[in-house]
Symmetry: D2
């Protein structure tokens, strides 16, 4: 079941996959580089007996892209084995690590997640797991939606801001934790509720126990989960992602109505906003480019050479559809702009007469330190360039970004529920000290 | 370049991949089970020097799904090395093999394609490669679109009926042969023309030479390439596949207009017919199910257990979109009906109020012996059941198949250009002797 | 049991290992590059069910050192599967292959052994396996000790000269065929008799059947099996190899008595002759160099770079034993002399005052075409140099080769029983036509 | 060079192999399960750039036989990377580990060696590497001959008793550390001196620096290195191992002269004592059993099933040599007696009339806690049985063990230089607390 759940969540990380199980007395693990389908087969799954399990698909935002950094991360300490899976980024990991090393701890990996385990280990001496958890979690800052497993407990905890999603479901009388509801759907589990921001939820033979050690604080849901990251069939922060995206597209239709022969997405990034946009304007939808299903997702791949290959092989323009046509592309976001530039060029070579683009969020101007990786691997084109310059760089006839207020209205949420740092630079949790200051200081 | 070409053609076979190159004096090969992206990497490609190359992605319709059966198939005979890649199925392979073995030939594989090489070898003694080719090709029957490479020649040949597509392109003054034009597009080659049915085309330092040893005969293009098999961005038999599919959908809208809240395909099988259908009727298109991009294509996988897993994990219904809605599914074909049944069940569980289905071709009633694998692995549901029974089995509120004449009209071709055997049982080339007679005799 | 037998015969080939089994109705095979211990484990052995089996360890004297050339070689022809294991070299393989290819046969490998299977296949059309065997075997020339397995028969055959050994044993009422008796010992089988030169022995449910299609001809046992190749604990051609080697050493003591502090072999090549020599003269034996047991046998490795590494790491001189001593090395043979030169240099660097060498056979002056690989991989130093020149090249104080008559006397056999071609150039079977004539013409 | 050194020391551990290199600024590692020749090839060695390196071959006496436990063990701590290779066994590792875990340390492996690194890490906070080393080393007890590498230093240290050997050599102006001198020989390094018991030797750009933090204490060299473990071509504790073994054999000849037809070792365990014994008595030496060189060393393999296979396939008796003969086996030691029993049985089945055995050390009655693994894997037969019972169990006509005083005299050393615990139960360093008391209490 964990294996199926990871399949449903594969879009959240394609670099490595792992499952750790507990029989109640012993812990078993299997991890590897690659997709769930590449790492696991019947033989390896059979070697994972147990009554509880946690799994993880990794998308490296900190720590190298190497096998040692695959999660769940397992350590044996004293007579106890702990396994942790972490979604998000700690902002004070480097400092905590420095402190721990100064006190003699030796780290096995370069992942921020390992800090949590060391804090737990130090605090486990003094008392039980609950106290240790509260003490450890109080020391870490940033984004973390975590599952933690001991031989006899399954624990979930989420940072007080609630950057990343984390939900609780029920199946056959047991509990299921997942980043998104689409994983519950696949295993036929029933959605119960979200793990609350700041909540520590402990599941064992005594049932559920919920700790809330943090003072109430402002929510900072990641709005980019709605725009791009989450699966459209998931419900995140209480809203269906597909529906939110359609509303973003409908709002775009109001803000940027364009006279064109047809609307198209680059599959599958802007699909749902495109539906909202074309239905809003009454222009037909066409699939002007065909996706090769045997290549992976552009944005998430870790090395430059793989990405360039992906752009070239992934989408083929259909000359017979595009020739002499005026086209509006609905895109979910523009990060570096290089991929868009290459795609627009290909559309024009295939005969498109006009190419416009509307984007279902405002310009990305600031890096994210909470788990979305457009901070280090590429420059944000909108950070240093005006909308006009971006339009010209990409080679568009026109370019329209959704307004911040239009975006917030489409979510159906209060405005102060979200982290909007990547758009407005207001970071709800202090970023790491020693990052490059380039964009922050503008 | 061959590697990229295979990427573009990956939909035609996912079981094994191979490339064979020639430097002019020596032949190098690399093959493996799996997708192009799994079999090849920089290191293996670097071990394939050469100035000419042929590649192949295999979809096993005859011969076992084992490494030895990967193509291109390479043999050394005398001082000459031959490599062959074969798309299609020979209908008299078993008999030819029996004859050859009786005369002392030893076969290395269980593939029908190996027969061609043995016939060539026998005839190469008597004369040159051209004579040997003509003699060999005259003995084989069925569907074959082949590339053949010797140290100094690249040869393409196609059966006189032209069952499977095969086209010729040009790039930087050199020639490129491919099953579909989408492979030419990817490598920026210019489409020149199709290899003609019955043509043997020889490319060497002297340029192109075309042989046409067969008497003129009726064409029998596989219409299922248009409906399902080929990529929408390819032009096949002179028509753009996407456009043909849209016309099939538009024709469906005329034949089966249904009052519904929205139209949806099961991505990506009926995507383009769905566009034609919804535009024809003015009903909105929605993506009622979300495809998980990390799982492969259902139809083409060789083992039952993988297929069942694929059905379960591949498409997730979006409850918020489907709830209380009347839905029309546009599907390209129904083979066994089991997958559709499971999907419709899932739609209803997600809340759909009415579920209708329209299919962009007539019922499949007869097996194919020319390279499409719905003959042996599954029973054709329409072979033994009426449309009403199929509707009821799948669990639909209504079911409409496109008419034969409607389908033919949509192709823009003369009616007698196609093999329609899977619909009407009229086999243009005699099927193998010893197949089960089940459906043929009805 | 076949697996254990191969272990016992590993010294005859270290390049690849394979086992093929038959259940009576189906054939199963597993082969790989490397030692028996590297290729097989419990899992792979479990996949080899059956009641009969043949195995092979390969030492490439013809055909490349690649996986495809591993034996037993298995082909399916008509409804029959044949597996063959071949020890020796055919001298007319190239010509037979040319003829077969001219008649349309396609070869899968570059091994001479494949010719036998093709001849069998051609003749199996006309009649039964016995007739086919007789006809096939009559066409091949050179050295061959073969095992052949069909679904229901185990067959052994040996060339009329009997170049290579082949013996028959019995175990639990069943029959065992092996190259050397040490394989029978390991599996506790009882030695019955040698397969006779020219004999075709067929074992099936009817028991043993022996065919002798050849006219009587002069024996040509390979004397180098006694001197170097066979295991000392085997009985070959009716004599114990250890005892023969000791007698060769004792004869050396008569022909070349040397005044020295001690006698030593380079382990393990001259061990047994050294025992004969030191006991003959009453000089103590010491182990002046220590063998590293984690490196393989020099002579048999296929690539140059591996051999040089082997020389450097394999034998370490013991300074405390050698210092200021007069030493006699007993060696079984000198092929290229390069290894000896390096070893003698190392002995002198470790302090040896005098280094003499006696060799338990005459100088090797001619290449072997019957299965011992000192023909192609290195020049025979004695082919172009006198004994004095060899002594000087290697850096010895004296060098004594055993006389031809002394060697023959030590075997306890009639003089005309052996192939002595490597010493005297008299080839009992015509060598291949197109070999380099360098040494033959001197 | 490290690779060659490991080859020379392969007899000290066959379970896993590893090399770690330093370029002066970065550390590179490669480790794997298996022999040096299995783990390393040109490609993996090329990935190990550097100017200093340490390597290790592991023989698991504590910690499981798994990949994670391969050495050298590398950790990154703060900005510093440490790599350690450890020969020997710590006797207080479990207690130290418990203490460290109580203070929050998390261990990555189950090896005692990891404790040393954690102690170093804790002490590195307070001061430099030298102080940290002295503090860490002062806390550990038992047997340790270690190499430690940082980016810019190569460090060797040895326990104050000097249980295991460790020597220093020089090559091309650089320094080489190795367990035995045979590794220096192989790389043409010059032996300088032993690392002294209790010495910490630091090598960096400033040359050698020697620390001696321990008070003088009684030496406890492992005498079993002389008898069995070390390579005969090494000089250990200032004596040549081969010569010591010959003297042990000569002493046996005095203590147990036996009238026999010949003397034989089981290769290669008693080879050198056998030479001393046969020369002392003037009886001939024969090789009554032939070793199959393609199987590994019995004693050192970690699993029971492999050992039993090894016994069966490894040594084949030569019937022609043994038949009707009176034989004396010279053996270096008897641990469990099961292997000897099987071998003697095989000799008798091959026809031996009388079989006597003399052993070049006294009976093994007590387990070793300092790095020789006859403590846990098998019962010591002499611990619970008299010499007569052992003789009878093995099936000998007579059995003679060398006397303790005879053994000590043969070493040429003062009597109080050695650890004799395995013979007399006097443990120079307190054994671990929680071992089974079985033998100690008798």
């Amino acid at each position: 079941m964990t294996y199926f759940g990871l399949y449903a969540l594969q879009h959240r990380g394609q670099e490595s996959s792992g499952i750790v199980t507990s029989t109640g007395t012993s812990i078993h693990e299997y991890k590897g580089m690659g997709l769930v389908s590449e790492v696991f087969d019947e033989r390896t799954l059979n070697r994972l007996p147990g009554r509880t399990a946690i799994g993880h698909v990794r998308y490296s935002t900190t720590g190298s892209s190497i096998a040692k950094n695959a999660q769940p991360f397992v350590v044996t300490h004293g007579n106890r084995t702990l396994a942790i899976g972490h979604n998000g980024n700690l902002t004070n990991a480097r400092q905590l690590r420095r402190d721990l090393e100064r006190r003699g701890s030796i780290f096995q990996t370069t992942m921020d997640s390992e800090v949590i385990v060391h804090l737990l280990a130090r605090n486990l001496q003094a008392g039980g797991i609950e106290e240790a958890l509260v003490t450890a979690v109080s020391q870490i800052e940033g984004a973390y939606s975590c599952t933690l497993m001991t031989e006899d407990k399954l624990i979930a905890f989420r940072d007080p801001q609630g950057f990343r999603p984390l939900c609780l479901g029920m199946l056959n009388g047991g509990y299921v934790i997942a980043s998104e509801t689409c994983a519950l759907d696949l295993v036929d589990a029933q959605y119960l509720r979200d793990i609350e921001p700041g909540e520590i939820l402990i599941i064992d033979d005594n049932g559920l126990k919920s700790l809330n050690p943090f003072p109430e604080c402002r929510r900072s849901f990641c709005i980019f989960e709605y725009i791009y990251f989450a699966r459209p069939d998931s419900n995140i922060y209480g809203q269906n992602v597909y529906s939110v995206r359609k509303r973003l597209g409908a709002q775009l239709a109001k803000e940027y109505p364009i006279e064109a022969d047809f609307v198209m997405p680059f599959p599958d990034s802007g699909n749902y906003a495109a539906l909202g946009y074309c239905q809003g304007l009454g222009i037909p939808l066409e699939m002007g480019v065909i996706r090769n299903h045997y290549v992976g997702r552009t944005f998430i791949e870790p090395t430059q050479s793989m990405r360039d290959f992906g752009v070239k092989v992934k989408l083929n323009p259909v000359r017979d559809i595009l020739n002499q046509k005026r086209v509006v592309i609905v895109e979910d976001s523009i990060i570096r702009g290089t991929t868009s530039k290459m795609r627009i060029k290909a559309l024009r070579e295939a005969g498109a007469k006009e190419v416009h683009m509307v984007v279902s969020c405002p310009p990305h101007r600031y890096p994210c330190y909470y788990g979305i990786d457009f901070s280090t691997k590429g420059e944000l084109i909108a950070c240093q360039h005006s909308v006009g310059e971006v339009q010209s760089y990409i080679g568009l006839d026109s370019l329209g970004y959704l307004s911040l207020s239009g975006m917030l209205d489409s979510t159906g949420y209060e405005n102060d529920a979200f982290c909007l740092a990547c758009f407005n630079g207001k970071y709800p949790v202090k970023p790491p000290d020693d990052i490059s200051k380039l964009c922050l200081e503008q």
